[in-house]
């Protein structure tokens, strides 16, 4: 159901959630095994953020901050930029250099965040 926040990232997170049910999604948890937290802001970094936890240990996507302790890395994005990174339109390192992505936590964990972990939406 389309909720009020209307972020483009919602669609990707939703698909990610479903993706964990597939074999490819399960392989991801073996490959990465980290917990990422995403702060997605509709317009401006740090404002009206929606928080998602992408748990690549258990294969879960949940709304809200990680409850099992400290995430391995947390990222802050604008909605638009998150979509660009998740869909491979922008390299995460370049996003970082531009200041379009902020990172907290371990940078080596953050390095494993690459566009290929997200499934790609198909087009009607």
């Amino acid at each position: 159901m389309a909720d009020s926040s209307n972020l483009k990232s919602d669609a990707i997170m939703e698909q990610m959630k479903q993706h964990f049910a597939t074999d490819a999604g399960k392989q991801l948890t073996e490959k990465i095994g980290l917990v990422y937290q995403f702060h997605i802001a509709p317009k401006k970094l740090g404002f009206d953020e929606v928080v998602y936890t992408v748990n690549l240990k258990k294969g879960e996507v949940t709304k809200g901050p990680y409850e099992g302790g400290k995430p391995d890395a947390s990222f802050s994005f604008k909605d638009e930029d998150f979509v660009k990174v998740a869909l491979g339109k922008m390299n995460p390192q370049i996003a970082f250099m531009r200041g379009a992505m902020k990172i907290k936590g371990s940078l080596s964990a953050a390095q494993k965040f690459t566009p290929d972990i997200f499934p790609k939406p198909s087009k009607l």
Partner: protein, 733 residues
């Protein structure tokens, strides 16, 4: 010219006239004589031609000077006039600064992309970038062994000032992280070795013009002033001062300092501000807090300068602070910016050297220089090592210039990174640089503006619409696009032309262009149902919910049969649930209308209720089994609800009906990739791209699949868009 002299001189050899008696002399004259010198200079200064629109300075100033007898009448007015013109430039530049900031806020580097290509002096063919890249890599490699860095001689790279400044800044910062365990001397030696072999002066600050450019500027200035002498005293004084200071210019600080001494730092600035105010009449200038900050930093700079440690004396931090104290940097909106008026010399220089590119260069400077971002790191360092004035440093950190760079520094400092990390960062950094010279096409199309192809053979075709329709029917989508573009260029109000163009783009897997074309179609014919549906679909694909909802509601509202269901007042505030209910009513009203099921299917995609969406599309397919786009919609919905195997069957149906359906090929690739079958996905992406090399998404996805399939060897072919090689390497079947 010399040749002609020689020839004509030879013909006149017998003549007693002394001037043409020696043709070689006139040749020599022609070669070294003043006329050719002037020509040379003209070549060096492209803007000196009056045809250039940017050189209004002279085109407006000249008439005043050339009024006979008027030269001496109003020397003061002239000076003012000139000064105001001059200052007008600055205002123009600060206007640019604003524009720049706006762009920066909105789209980050997207804006640079648009502007930067203009300033690359030699058109980059990619080679210098690659040379540079491997060179920088070897620098990074030297960090592993901790061995002194011995660079190899390099070919001319044609680096711009901005590039140099950038490399200089970044490399010294990088080096401090990379060699964190080494002594300062070692680091300096490494960086100097790098900079030296890149032909970058490690001391020159990028803002300062190069000496030879300066000389040229001076010559030019003097020459241009020649016709005004005895000139207005103000301008004259300026020239003298200018030439005096030029001698010392190898140290930009001293120049600025002595200037400051002469006029007093604040006196100078306020004088400057004052003159801007009075002569231009609209000064937006520096605000009071900047003056306060400047005064504060000036005091700090003095305190810091008394610190005897030579290491600290050379630190960028001190340079930054003194730069700020001179007003070259200002703090605005918590960001450090270069002050436009502080850079007047550079700018003046660029104005006359760069021609129309000067503005780009100026912006570029701002991009690269970015002491704002990196300087913060030095605050951290300063706190650790030097901290001569804790109070100020604290205050400075409160300004919170850009804390991400700070974080970056800390992370790297902690050495939390594994092997090869620096490589990948350096690679990304190269890309970041490359990106700045990349094409601007993407930017244009992302703004809903239709981007026409450059060379269109169908322009001038007697009936491009019919041609386009035929090509479309034959499945030659990219050709059809060209013909239809010719049609809408000829008849911009032809809704059908725009509509078909939009459909062709959508089938060609280019939603941005599809949206742009469909919006034009809707302008021409606001109630066309197919257009409204297509816009709804494209916006759904782009994950733009509210826009999609608006168009889908529009479809219902303008439908002859269901229009009555939709209350017109609803369009002001659309809620998904309400619209969905209306469509369900419509579907009940006429269950055999395939179209209403299609729209309903799109609606359910929007709300990610994929099972319902699949049911709607399947129902529509029973009524319209030959609709290839409907099969693709079914497939895409199944794929998005992770039924990839079913999706591939549906796509296959679509492709059986329309073999050149690029979107379906690309979707096939996505489905395989999402199942982790990267090798297969690559083949489908390549097939889609062979049919439409402009399908941006497919290129991006191909890149991801290539690296997931450990085919990094083909990444370069992907980046260079070498389809021949990719097709040979990844044939389908």
């Amino acid at each position: 010219m010399a040749m002609r002299d020689l020839v004509s001189g030879a013909a006149a050899c017998g003549d007693s006239s002394s001037s043409s008696a020696n043709p070689l002399a006139s040749l020599a004259n022609a070669l070294v004589g003043s006329s050719s010198k002037t020509q040379e200079r003209l070549k060096e200064i492209p803007t000196s031609t009056l045809t250039d629109p940017t050189s209004q300075f002279y085109s407006t100033a000249l008439p005043v000077n050339h009024l006979p007898g008027s030269e001496f009448d109003k020397p003061l007015l002239d000076a003012n006039y000139q000064a105001s013109e001059f200052l007008h430039r600055f205002r123009g530049a600060s206007g640019l600064e604003e524009t720049w900031d706006e762009i920066q806020r909105e789209g980050g580097v997207a804006g640079q992309r648009q502007l930067v290509p203009a300033i690359q002096q030699p058109p980059l063919d990619g080679t210098p970038q690659r040379v540079l890249s491997s060179f920088l890599h070897s620098f990074l490699d030297s960090s592993r062994g901790g061995v002194p860095f011995h660079p190899t001689p390099l070919p001319m790279l044609g680096l711009s000032e901005g590039d140099k400044q950038c490399i200089r800044d970044r490399s010294s910062i990088m080096a401090r992280h990379l060699f964190a365990d080494k002594s300062e001397e070692f680091i300096d030696a490494q960086v100097n070795a790098l900079l030296c072999s890149l032909d970058i002066d490690s001391n020159v600050r990028g803002k300062g013009p190069m000496p030879e450019r300066f000389r040229e500027l001076e010559d030019y200035w003097n020459e241009s002033q020649g016709n005004m002498r005895p000139g207005p005293p103000a301008a004259d004084g300026w020239i003298t001062e200018f030439s005096q200071h030029r001698g010392k210019y190898d140290n930009p600080d001293s120049w600025a300092n002595s200037f400051e001494q002469q006029h007093g730092a604040n006196g100078w600035v306020s004088e400057f501000e004052h003159s801007q105010l009075s002569s231009v009449g609209q000064m937006q200038g520096m605000n009071v807090s900047n003056f306060a900050a400047m005064e504060q930093t000036r005091m700090l700079a003095n305190t810091l300068a008394q610190n005897g440690d030579p290491k600290f004396q050379n630190s960028k931090f001190l340079q930054f602070v003194s730069k700020m104290s001179r007003g070259e940097l200002i703090i605005d909106d918590n960001q450090v910016k270069e002050n436009a008026s502080g850079n007047w010399a550079t700018e003046y220089d660029q104005q006359y050297n760069g021609g129309h590119a000067w503005s780009g260069e100026f912006l570029n400077d701002k991009v690269y220089h970015g002491p704002d971002q990196w300087v913060n790191e030095y605050t951290t360092e300063g706190r650790q090592h030097d901290a001569p004035d804790d109070q100020w440093v604290n205050e400075f950190s409160k300004l919170n210039v850009n804390d991400w760079a700070d974080e970056f520094g800390q992370q790297l400092g902690e050495a939390a990174l594994g092997d090869g990390t620096s490589d990948s960062w350096a690679h990304a950094y190269d890309e970041f640089l490359n990106e700045q010279v990349a094409s601007k096409q993407q930017l244009d199309s992302s703004r809903g503006v239709y981007v026409f192809s450059d060379l269109n053979p169908y322009v001038g075709h007697p009936n491009p619409l019919k041609e386009g329709q035929d090509l479309f029917r034959k499945g030659l989508l990219s050709e059809a696009v060209l013909a239809l573009e010719a049609e809408v260029l000829k008849n911009p109000e032809n809704a059908e032309g725009w509509r078909l163009l939009g459909i062709a783009h959508a089938e060609n897997d280019d939603d941005q262009q599809a949206i742009a074309a469909m919006m034009r179609a809707q302008e021409a014919d606001p109630t066309n149902l197919e257009v409204l549906l297509a816009l709804g679909v494209s916006h759904t694909n782009e994950l733009e919910q509210s826009a999609a909802l608006k168009y889908l509601y529009g479809w219902l509202r303008h439908h002859p049969k269901y229009g009555t269901l939709a209350p017109p007042e609803m369009s002001d505030s659309l809620y998904y649930a309400d619209v969905a209910r209306l469509f369900n009513d419509a579907a009940e009203l006429s269950p055999d209308d395939a179209d209403v099921h299609i729209v309903l299917g799109v609606m359910y995609n929007l709300s990610r209720e994929y099972d319902k969406a699949i049911a709607s599309f399947e129902r529509a397919l029973k009524l319209k089994p030959q609709d290839y786009s409907l099969w693709n919609k079914l497939g895409a919905t199944q794929a998005n609800s992770i039924q990839s195997a079913d999706a591939i069957m549906a796509y296959q149906q679509a492709l059986d009906l329309k073999p050149n359906y690029v979107r379906a090929w690309a979707n096939m690739g996505i489905s395989y990739a999402n199942q982790g079958m990267y090798d297969e996905s690559i083949r489908y992406y390549v097939r889609a791209l062979a049919m439409n090399p402009k399908a941006e998404n497919a290129w991006q996805y191909l890149r991801i699949s290539l690296s997931c399939a450990s085919r990094n060897d083909m990444l370069e072919a992907c980046d260079r868009r070498n389809l021949d090689l990719l097709q040979k390497e990844f044939p389908l079947q």
